[in-house]
Amino acid sequence: MLLSLAFRNLWRNRRRTLLTLSAMVVSAALLILALGVFSGMFKDMLASATEQYYGHLVLAKPEYHLRRDLFANLSVDITNHPALMNEPEILARSPRLRSFGLLSKQLSSQPVELLGIIPELEQQVTSLQNKITAGDYPKLEDRNGAMIGQGLAKKMKLKLGDELVFVTQAADGSIGNDLLIVRGVFATGDSRNDNNLVLVPLPWLQEVVVLPGRIHEVAMTLANPMLAAEVADRLTPHLPENTEVLGWGDLLPEMREVIAAYGVSRMIIVTILYLATGLGILNTFFMSVMERTREFGILMAQGMRPMAIRALVLLETLFLGGIALAIGLFCGALMTLYMQQIGIDLTSYITPITYAGGTILPRLHAVFEVANFLVPAGMLLLVSLVAGFLPANRAARLNPVVAVRED
């Protein structure tokens, strides 16, 4: 009966309750949408760093990721190490050789980073094949066919079919140099990749830098990128000595921090938005309690304990929170779904922003993440309770004699 009493009390002043309710629904729904979009942004960022360059997990010699030492190389056979093959989280493995050198065409020269890859495998780890603006992805059969970033193409005024000279210091001390032919151009929005990165077939690069059968790293894709650190720890004891397997969090510590900070910023956003909502709830229930002073007096005269009165008011706010939550979650999910499926393209208004090693794409696009629903939901109930507590306390502390005298 206390429950139905609370529920019915809620609808006494229908308009006021509905107003408060709609404020709560709107704030919850918008919050869920906004968090979904933020998550989408972070996912884009992480994806741009991992799926355009690093991969989720990288096996290399210790400190290779810091020094990029030409001589810190491994046998290509490590790509098929049983520990990597037997790890169910790993979906794909791509062996890579990296060389820094000078790329030139006639009088213009640019320092570049060459990534020697096996195209078929690399495409399972990074997704540059989806970012091609002209031409094609490198092919193993096309010995010296390269795919270059758009920024580089622009700077050196390159077009498909152009011949380039790559010069670097080979591993035997000789001057490694050979011709490359531009077969494809990609654009990721990440200026570092677009201005420096060149993808070439692995065998060609191995020959140029005189490192036959050698690679620098094995980049891998995981089923769940968030498990990178965990998988890395799991693999380490099974891998040969003097190798190191690192998750994206170690390769991109800034990104890891940004993503960790997201948890905090999410709480801050939720708190700020709900502060206003909480004040609305507080006001509604204060008014409601004041209006019902005499009623509370009568209930007390009948022998209702102050605690029960408090519980009654809190129950009312919880009900309101619960209803707002149900509708808010539904609307929020619906809007998130829309943003996930369709989204908003901002390409014509802003350019991509590179931040913490990742790129924020110029689009509003949401992803579903459980925490984006749980946090606003839990917080809404909490806010309802906190906002209900003051009026509830006020009702419980009424002096029945005074309350009953009120008309």
Partner: protein, 229 residues
Amino acid sequence: MSLIELKNVSKIYRLGNQEIPALTNVSLTFDEGEFAVLAGPSGSGKTTALNLIGCLDRPTSGEVIVSNLTLGTASSKQLADFRLHHIGFIFQSYNLIPVLTAAENAEFTLMLQKVPKLKRRKIVCQLFADLGIDGLEDRRPADLSGGQQQRVAIARAMAANPHVILADEPTANLDSHTAEELLALMRQLNQEKGTTFIFSSHDDRVISQAQRVIRLEDGRLADDSKESQ
């Protein structure tokens, strides 16, 4: 052994730094089964006296003893529990909770006493029949007349079977005919079930129906028909 005893009770209200003596040195006893009225002009302290008897308020000085219990230092929670089990309250008007039906209002004290639902319904149905308001169980207070509302209030006060029912000017908002009917009903319940009734009034016709008349003037006991017998 009396049911209720007021020993030299005084109640002083404070309004800012002003002291308002609502009751001064009142001593009274009530026995079980009494049908007593507190009479007196407006402001004479009737409501104050009923609140003290009903343990809704504490006296400034003196003692209130109900069913052999002195509640001078009890907490508000203990007072609430005491009221729940021993006292029934009926006020002048707007006694009922507007969002609950007549039956739910009447069941309220039983609900607080955690009486099972079916048993509650049975008791309330019986009371509604006794009070002549059967068939109105599912109406909201707003859809009831003043007399019907007061009967529901009586049903609620009676439901938990308290030792004493306190009614503060229960007929003040009713026309004289309805007032007389209600009073007769209360008197009937008092005689049939032996429930003690103490009510206040300044209506002479109502006062004349009482078995015992206690007159208050300016917070002092002016006359008690029981004493003067």
